[in-house]
Symmetry: C2
Subunit: 213 residues, 2 copies
Amino acid sequence: MQQVKKGKVSNAVIRRLPRYYRTLDAFYRDGIVRISSSALGSSMGITASQIRQDLSCFGEFGQQGYGYNIADLRREIADILGMNHHYSAILLGSGNLGRALLRNFRFAKTGFTLTAAFDADPALIGTSISGFNVRSIETLDEYLKTHSTSVGILTVPKSEAQNMTNHLIAGGVKGIWNFTNVEIDVGDSGVTVESVHFSDSLLALSYLISEKA
Amino acid sequence: MQQVKKGKVSNAVIRRLPRYYRTLDAFYRDGIVRISSSALGSSMGITASQIRQDLSCFGEFGQQGYGYNIADLRREIADILGMNHHYSAILLGSGNLGRALLRNFRFAKTGFTLTAAFDADPALIGTSISGFNVRSIETLDEYLKTHSTSVGILTVPKSEAQNMTNHLIAGGVKGIWNFTNVEIDVGDSGVTVESVHFSDSLLALSYLISEKA
């Protein structure tokens, strides 16, 4: 079905889109061909009408009385998420968290290609992590001049977060995936920041277990 | 003001609570005494009426024409989040991601105390990471019998996620903080699962930069 974006999509919907993709991808890999909106909803803990409402932001999907074709909807949501844009990413900070991402995170499953890893530590520069030769952070500006890069991943210490942000903006990235747990300022650059706040997640868990007690 | 919880709090509100806390904490540390709901909202990118509506789930806060006393509201939101319950946490899996949490995550700032770290790798067992003596995963069941533990943190390989979950449930934890990027099944145990899905976050960023393009 044709995707027609209608107005501004709420943050709540944006946050559910990756979950739709993840759920549909699991069904797809299990060889399931189609699913009713109520079954899809119950597997995600939301209502069928929520699903219909969410998807209606992007066009018409599914067919009354038939449900959703899983392969089709998975592909369409991948398109909506921009997974076919061949975005590239570089990682700044090859410490423990950076290494965890280099070694275990499957960038390709999100449509991204990780193209380089950087660090400031002479003991790390030149070493290989998961096939990535760690580059000196001193070479970042030059790298960005010669390699069009979609996203910079910030796994640097907090104290370096803003400085690295400034270099990434000057180097023309479109987005920053920020793990530093500090707010970074991108001014009027138009660069999009997505932060992974571990503490927000643990506090939500704290709330949820307190609420049950 | 008295906190009166009115019915079920939506997931969207639960997700905003840690951000309220984080924002108020920053103002508090900067020595700011009070703030209007519109200024608080603009610093969080939400409207003043959204804030009033969110907080109304828990009682009455602030005063017409005065705004919010930052120290008070920060403390009340900390209470709502259960930050004063002295929750304990243990970490399962002392690989790169586990080490990143052990070394850099400030558990105390969320009200949690990290009490032990475990791993299955003989090369890690007995070593010290940030003052934590890594214990053998073989001793987990015994540890849980003798140490009441609120939360288990899963930074194990995907293949161990469900097995470790089962041990944590049997050991009486209240919550699981899941970094394995797989869905874990807690059956009817009543255990709360909070997952940090890196891929969901990167896909949201992918959506947001695609939308701007």
